[in-house]
């Protein structure tokens, strides 16, 4: 998974954008957000070395900035959202073991990831009352928790909701994700006319296939190895990547 030359390229880039050259480069010396450039984009496209993902995802997505700028700390948000009786809390409870049941971290109530997932999802429901808890977000949060500290996973979710995806994506109307499905339908007419004909012929509603691709940013779709590469791009470029990948995957089929 770790490609040594690629790791060196990233190191060189980070050192180059970092002005001081005294001592060893450590993460706390690297800026909260990385200036966007063609060079950075090509590095992201080639893949982020796995060991650097937690730190770079936080910087590429803007999550670290959120974490630093937030008036409320994650700990305070967790404290505020610890009520068991809310509708969201009850729904979350039902889904905790139905999110990633085959992974040891989320397989039973005693598994290490379960209380973390519960706290992250409740915190999000509290911070975004117009969303509450939306099925599908658990899948994204659980995948993030496999690689990031709980607090960082929370801020990544926050960046996904606020910045990387269009508004109202997970809200009670699911307006955002439904709009994206319409947009995708138009793109298919334009770029994949044969598929468009097929969908029309068999009267297939596109949401059957792609709704959860978008709603979970592919977390419920592809193997984790592939997902990591997809997310490298998604955290840098946002929603557009989901369309590009979807069109690509539909084209392959």
């Amino acid at each position: 998974m770790e490609d040594a030359p690629q790791r060196l390229r990233w190191q060189a880039h980070l050192e180059f954008t970092h002005n001081h050259d005294v001592g060893d480069l450590t993460w706390d010396k690297i800026a909260v957000s990385l200036p966007r450039s063609e060079k950075l984009r090509s590095l992201v496209l080639a893949g982020i070395p796995h060991g650097m993902r937690p730190q770079l995802w936080m910087r590429l997505s803007g999550a670290l900035q959120k974490k630093r700028n937030s008036e409320l700390s994650y700990r305070e948000i967790v404290k505020n959202s610890s009520n068991d009786e809310t509708i969201a809390a009850k729904q979350i409870e039902k889904d905790l073991l139905r999110t990633m049941p085959s992974n040891a971290c989320f397989a039973s109530m005693g598994s290490i990831g379960v209380p973390r997932l519960r706290r992250v999802l409740r915190a999000l429901a509290w911070l975004y009352p117009e969303i509450g808890y939306c099925q599908g977000t658990g899948m994204v949060a659980a995948c993030l928790l496999l690689f990031l500290e709980e607090e960082d996973a929370f801020w990544m979710m926050s960046a996904i909701i606020e910045d990387l995806l269009p508004a109202s994506y997970f809200s009670t109307t699911l307006l955002g994700v439904q709009t994206d499905q319409r947009v995708l339908r138009h793109l298919i007419v334009q770029y994949l006319p044969r598929l468009d004909k097929l969908l029309q012929e068999h009267d297939i509603e596109l949401s059957l296939i792609t709704l959860h691709w978008f709603l979970t940013a592919f977390a419920s779709v592809v193997d984790i190895k592939l997902l990591l590469r997809i997310w490298d791009l998604f955290f840098y470029e946002g929603s557009r990547v989901l369309f590009q990948l979807t069109l690509g995957m539909l084209h392959l089929k």
């Binding site: 729904q91 039902k94 889904d95 139905r98 999110t99 990633m100 049941p101 085959s102 397989a107 939306c134 099925q135 599908g136 658990g138 899948m139 809200s171 009670t172 109307t173 699911l174 439904q178 509603e205 949401s207 059957l208 709704l211 959860h212 709603l215 979970t216 419920s220």
Partner: protein, 181 residues
């Protein structure tokens, strides 16, 4: 080329989140049961071909997400369904109360005269039962066409009728209806 089936029936499962819709479908289509289900996001379907009275019946069973917000997406599939199975969890009173809301959704979105089946799931958890059979009978007795069957999600052969029996009852009625047309 001979057709692989004589009739195609589209069935739809609806009901609150966590009542066991996916479990029923997998039990029915793949004849297995395990405890590791993932909550359904949006909509999904499974296919099984069954033999009823010498006819090959291809069943397309649609599974839906139970969470309220997904209704805007799942209701689009009501119209094409010939049978709708309303599922509740006998250990969860709320899921039974909500059957009324699901009935309303059917009324608003499905074709008139669609077959309906009310199904109380998780009968293996008798000790935790909150919804009595009489309650369900009473509340839905006016819907003469509805059949009330209990299904043990976990195992067949423990006194509960396995889901496949339930679905058969429902299909039969459809078969009869279709053969008239």
């Amino acid at each position: 080329m001979a057709k692989a089936y004589d009739h195609l029936f589209k069935l739809l499962l609806i009901g609150d989140s966590g009542v066991g819709k996916t479990c029923l479908i997998i039990r029915f289509a793949e004849d297995n049961f395990n405890n590791t289900y993932i909550s359904t996001i949006g909509i999904d379907f499974k296919i099984r071909t069954v033999d009823i009275e010498g006819k090959k019946i291809k069943l397309q069973v649609w599974d839906t997400a139970g969470q309220e917000r997904f209704k805007t997406i799942t209701t689009a599939y009501y119209r094409g369904a010939m049978g709708i199975i309303l599922v509740y969890d006998i250990t969860d009173e709320k899921s039974f109360e909500n059957i009324q809301n699901w009935m309303k959704s059917i009324k608003e979105n499905a074709s008139a005269g669609v077959e309906r089946l009310l199904l109380g799931n998780k009968c293996d958890m008798e000790a935790k039962r909150k919804v009595q059979k009489e309650q369900a009978d009473k509340a839905f007795s006016s819907l003469a066409r509805d059949i009330l069957l209990k299904s043990g999600g976990r195992r067949s052969g423990n006194g509960n009728k396995p889901p496949s029996t339930d679905l058969k009852t429902c299909d039969k009625k459809n078969t009869n209806k279709c053969s008239l047309g």
